[in-house]
Point group: C2
Chain length 548, copies 2
């Protein structure tokens, strides 16, 4: 095991020394960038991704120390243990095998004495067959019409990754299926979808590993009510993605049989890492067709292999994790902005926001020791150039935030070609993508302080060739591996999420009081604390005059 | 004028002392909340909003000091100067009169010797008349069909506020108009919209004050090309929202006449504050009808009056700004999360992200002096409960971030009523809204450190009665006033945005080289720095083998 606190390593003192060194005025990025070899020395390329970290506040010495730290922390071995089935999710005593979901290897993968690959292949074959039958009309809704709408009922990891990919590849969809997401328990979310679908041609995909997620159960109930009111049979319009034997499993003990099919999830794949399992597989293979979904898997698999096999000097996600560690722990930046210069990647930041902040927002080591250093950072982002016209003011002249820029070299859309100021819109997008990291790094002095730019603001730039299924799969896996590597550096467990438990416990108390009040309006919610009680009373108040 | 550096005020030392006091273990929120009067003492209500800051890490003493600071900084007077036309945008020597855009006062408002209200009323009357003619079919597209699609071409402040409001009130839209946003210069953004509209029934609204915004001009050109290729006349399908006399003004000097109408913007209303001007007025009055747009204005006007007139002890946006200041400058939190428990408010956080981070991401005072203290904070958010299943792990157990929760008491959607676990979906949403601030505040100890919650994490809760146009207008104005009050406390200018200039300058250099390369592929972009040059070469490379 890795030592619990890296801060006591002599290596860490050297890193702190390197951080003090880089803080000196002569180490401003505008000076570092005078080195003509900087771009080549601080760039890596693999699996179709080009990763340029030349505008990070890094020296060769610091990077070398970081790689030595990665070795000392054993993160590379830990990653290999992860993909080979070691129970790296130590608090929950489970393996973390999202990589197995996209493995096309024929080798067995033994977990707890069982080769799990046949189960994974079986679910994949079931999805492929189901997708084909839906798309060619062999399976229809209860009135015999082909399905045209798929509504994913799921929250958090049960939809964010799928939403990222379905938006990224929407231009490729040719299946005639429209995809919707019913994630929020807010009744307006259902209302919005109800206005867009035709219930007769709608398939609902209910996704919950335990089949007890409160929001998902409430929304599934709401959707069944809608279908019944329309005179449609839920058994012909619902499928589930859930753990074997859960209440939502068609073969499970009691209940759950009121659906067309169940696709199994496994306890060794956590929600935020689950898009390449049936969680993403069922909706994405309906929206994009099976062949494209398989191409996403193959892209992700390729990046998984790179993340596991490439030496630290060539390893993209490991290098990206080392840079996060450097920026977070040594340079003290509390946040990271993720800015894809590609409108179809508009849901990448919300996905990686969950992936990163839920995995790494921890304050204990995997072994349960309290830690004093910073771990997870705040991750946020919007597509560029939109973000330039929104919050980039703060990035240039206010609080510095390291940025990860993403560019796509070749656009998919090529109708109505025009040029403005001598360039195409895609070139204009790139002119901005090229300029922003440089403006952040160099800055520019001006006699007027209000027009001065301090510069020395770090960024990376990741370039993909185009938005193909393979490249989107590679990008997905890149961020998963980066997140996991960050955790292994910190010594935290990126696979549990106990932090969401307390809110659930308190919500159960509040819900019980509300249910009692629904039965008897005179019921006083006396088990609650005084403030929660006031809110319950506010919600149940009939008089709408006065505040609020 | 306010003193440039509040950090030298004796009052500031007292605030620092108050911050040290609150950091002690016995001042943990779980102890502060033992006071049964806490909710009433630390709540305000006005203009239909209930603002509860009982779960902020505040004492009555600290709040009183903050209010004294507000007085010492003269922020209340500054706000009144702003709405009465004083050039508070000192760097650009302009007034900041977004409040005038929604004023229904009959009193004159003199700016530079001119009463500006007649101009504002004239634009309002023009929008009302135009909206009526479009909606009743008096104005049609070039083939005589009624308009069914409106595409806003604008970026940053020219669409974010409108997107927030159109999403918030979408359920009320009954005009038969679908609204789309072409903001990003990414050609995929056009491709996405081109797949959704019927050009014959599409009205394009091009929004740019100067009518030179690069992205907007490139997209307008792209849209005109699309219409011409479809054999439609742009003059019958385009309107502009722009400054009088700009190249996009129909009455302007040259150009711009190739459109149905121009609605004027004024230099005393900045982009991120412009949604109640013609920027939001043209698209929103088409999407929602004029009457609803006017109700939004009236709600905003009511909150403006409150923000200007209410004493500090009763003033919602001023109190919210003081709490931001306290959390940012005294307690050291670098960020703020904005979590509306209302799916229709899904675009509130992106709007306030621009409003706050562009206004307050500054490092000089309004007078141009460098400042050492922190000003703007990172603002991000997603709707709850979605956010609970995404990044709340970090908020509960990782890096603390103050949260602003928003609740809506009465939902608009009431079809398919069901209950799950004894409560409706709306009640389930509220059970979570009630529980999360409490879980963050109280925390809970556990023998297992991985299951322990430190608590003491601050939040506010803002409750609206329902999503009416008036309430959405009030919410809009609340965040505008809060942002402006924050800046007045810091002594910064919330109305300029010089930080976006350097990137534009560098992009111009890159664009010129790209245009030259379009003319002659052999052109070498030698005026650029070595890294920018590499990216230009990467973009123009024909060979697609190898990386990236």
């Amino acid at each position: 095991m890795t030592p619990a606190c890296f801060e006591h390593l002599p290596l860490y003192s050297e890193l702190q020394e390197a951080a003090r060194h880089i803080a000196q005025p002569h180490m401003h990025l505008r000076h570092l960038l005078e080195d003509p070899t900087r771009f080549d020395t601080f760039s890596l390329a693999a699996c179709g991704l080009h990763y340029d970290f030349s505008r990070q506040r890094l020296t060769g010495k610091a990077l070398s120390l970081l790689r030595t730290l990665a070795g000392a922390r054993g993160v590379h071995n830990r990653f290999r243990e992860m993909i080979s089935g070691t129970p790296v999710n130590v608090t929950e005593k489970r393996a973390a095998l999202h990589t197995a979901a996209r493995s096309f290897s024929t080798a067995p993968l033994i977990v707890g004495g069982e080769d799990i690959m046949p189960r994974i292949r079986r679910v994949r074959a079931e999805m492929q067959s189901f997708s084909r039958k839906i798309l060619n009309g062999d399976i229809t809704g209860s009135t015999g019409k082909r399905f045209r709408h798929v509504v994913v009922i799921g929250i958090g990891g049960s939809y964010l990754g799928t939403a990222f990919i379905s938006e990224a590849l929407a231009a490729l969809s040719d299946t005639g299926i429209r995809l919707h997401y019913l994630s929020n328990v807010d009744i307006h979310n259902l209302g919005d979808i109800a206005g867009k679908i035709d219930p007769e041609t709608t398939l609902w995909v209910v996704i919950s590993k335990s089949y007890t997620t409160t929001e998902t159960m409430a929304n599934a109930h709401q959707a069944r009510t809608l279908m019944l009111e329309k005179g449609l049979s839920p058994a012909r319009h619902f499928v589930t993605v859930t753990a074997k034997g859960s209440p939502g499993d068609v073969d499970g003990p009691g209940g759950g049989t009121d659906s067309l099919a169940a696709f199994h999830m496994f306890d060794f794949i956590g929600g935020r890492y689950s898009v390449t399992s049936a969680v993403g597989g069922v909706p994405l293979s309906l929206f994009l067709g099976w062949e494209r979904f398989e191409r996403i898997l193959k892209g992700a698999e390729e990046m998984d292999r790179h993340a596991a096999a490439a030496p630290p000097e060539e390893n993209l996600p490991l290098t990206a994790a080392l840079i996060s560690f450097w920026n977070n722990n040594l340079l003290g930046y509390p946040a990271q902005a993720l800015i894809p210069y590609a409108a179809p990647l508009r849901k990448l930041a919300p996905h990686v926001q969950q992936l990163s902040m839920e995995s790494n927002g921890k304050s204990v080591t995997a072994e349960g020791q309290h830690i004093s250093f910073s771990t997870g950072y705040i991750l946020f982002g919007e597509p560029g150039t939109n973000a330039q016209h929104s919050f980039f003011q703060l990035l240039h002249q206010g609080r510095p935030v390291p940025v990860e820029f993403i560019g796509v070299r070749t656009p998919l859309y090529s109708h109505f070609p025009t040029t403005t100021k001598g360039v195409s819109n895609h070139q204009e997008l790139w002119a901005n993508l090229i300029s922003q990291p440089m403006a952040l790094a160099l800055g520019r002095e001006n006699d007027d302080p209000a027009r001065s730019f301090p510069g020395n603001r770090p960024s990376s730039t990741l370039v993909l060739e185009s938005l193909t299924p393979e490249n989107v799969g590679r990008l997905l896996s890149f961020y998963e591996a980066k997140t996991v590597y960050e955790a292994f550096l910190w010594g935290t467990n990126p696979f549990d999420q106990f932090g969401v438990e307390l809110g659930k416990v308190l919500a159960t108390d509040v819900r019980k009081e509300m249910a009692a009040k629904n039965r008897d309006p005179r019921h006083a919610p006396e088990t609650l604390d005084p403030i929660s009680r006031r809110y319950v009373e506010m919600l149940f108040r009939k008089d709408e005059r006065g505040a609020p």
